[in-house]
Amino acid sequence: MEMLYHQFKRRVFGMAHRIVGATDAEEVAQEVFVRVFRGLANFRGDSALSTWIYRLTVNASLSHLARRGRRQEVSDENIPEVPATPEPERDPGLAARIEACLEPLPAGYRAILVLHDVEGLSHEECAAILECRVGTCKSQLHKARGRMRELLGPIGDRNK
């Protein structure tokens, strides 16, 4: 049991952290592992074990957000404004800006960016975790990146 925990702890905690935020990540990760260990005996292998665990993680994170009420699923039209181009002297670096811009994203967009881009899972695995079609996943990823780009402002090298 402990071996399984250590095997998955980084990914579960990382996913939870980037979807629900630092404050509640440990609580959500704990909830996920408790569900994993309680449900393990009944796991029938309908998916890879990792897929099942990540699915639990995403669902627990999204449920937590919904319960917390701090962030509801919002449509593109009413995402709060975030300055597109921070002043250079206050720009803490791209990584930190990306972390900051994850938070205002709708939870669903956050989830697909974390699964595909941060954790490096394939479209097929993302689709299995999010229980949607691969095409839907790809489309969500495109929209999520688009929304994140708008929040971040120009980030690429303009001279390329």
Binding site: M1, F13, R18, A29, R44, H142, G146, G156
Partner: protein, 236 residues
């Protein structure tokens, strides 16, 4: 290709998922369109920034919290009457079991199944199995052929040739099967088959003993199976 056709494909293009003409078309548009090119540059930088985000280590208190919560739930569970425990375990799985029958009958079946599963899990504490049966139950490996004077180092040296011999036997079997099926082939098919077999056999003969030869032998076996079973004789 216009911008409003290119932009929806940018994510797939940047992730290398656009093949052939579509990728070429997007690439061609990006060369000439500053706006789309900036968008692609930004998205690539974003994607790389996301990929570079470091893994996060949970605090040490997480594992302690998990154990504490599991322990607390076990204590609470043990205080409930046994019939209520069985019922609550059955209820979420009723649709999966797919039976519409008495709650007690289903609970009995499920209790028996779960106790079997717990034994399987308990017997393999360090591995996660499902269904239990996948711990391979295999016959003991065949003992290596022994000769009074054979030493382990000599046996190891001779092993690759022995394996190649096994593969060679399979090739002979498949050749015979393919020949039997070839009665229905046209002359062209027979000729193509002979040529292909000769080529693959040459690869076997020239390959170094050991894994390279075995790989060539497996390729020949696959070809022979395709030919004998699916009439796939075309030259590759």
């Amino acid at each position: 290709m216009s911008c409003d056709k290119v932009r929806p494909q940018l994510t797939a293009y940047l992730d290398g998922e656009l093949e052939g003409d579509r990728g070429t078309a997007v690439r061609g548009h990006l060369r000439t369109c500053e706006g789309c090119r900036q968008m692609a540059t930004d998205e690539a930088a974003l994607r790389d920034g996301l990929r570079a985000m470091p893994p996060l280590d949970p605090p040490a208190s997480l594992w302690a919290g998990v154990q504490a919560q599991l322990a607390a739930e076990e204590v609470a569970e043990s205080k409930r009457p046994s019939w209520r425990r069985a019922f609550s375990r059955w209820a979420p799985f009723a649709p999966r079991v797919g039976m519409v029958m008495g709650a007690l009958a289903a609970a009995t079946i499920l209790l028996v199944w779960r106790s079997h599963r717990h034994q399987d899990v308990a017997s393999a504490p360090e591995t996660v199995t499902h269904e239990g049966a996948h711990e391979a139950v295999t016959p003991a490996p065949a003992p290596a052929p022994t000769a009074e004077a054979a030493d382990v180092s000599a046996e190891l040296a001779a092993a690759p040739a022995r394996v190649s011999g096994d593969y060679a036997q399979a090739i002979n079997d498949m050749l015979a099967a393919a020949k039997a099926e070839s009665a229905q082939w046209s002359d062209d098919q027979k000729k193509a088959f002979d040529l292909q077999v000769a080529e693959l056999q040459a690869s076997v003969d020239t390959a170094a003993e050991g894994r390279p030869r075995q790989k060539a032998q497996r390729a020949l076996i696959r070809y022979l199976q395709g030919a004998a079973i699916r009439d796939e004789v075309a030259l590759r």
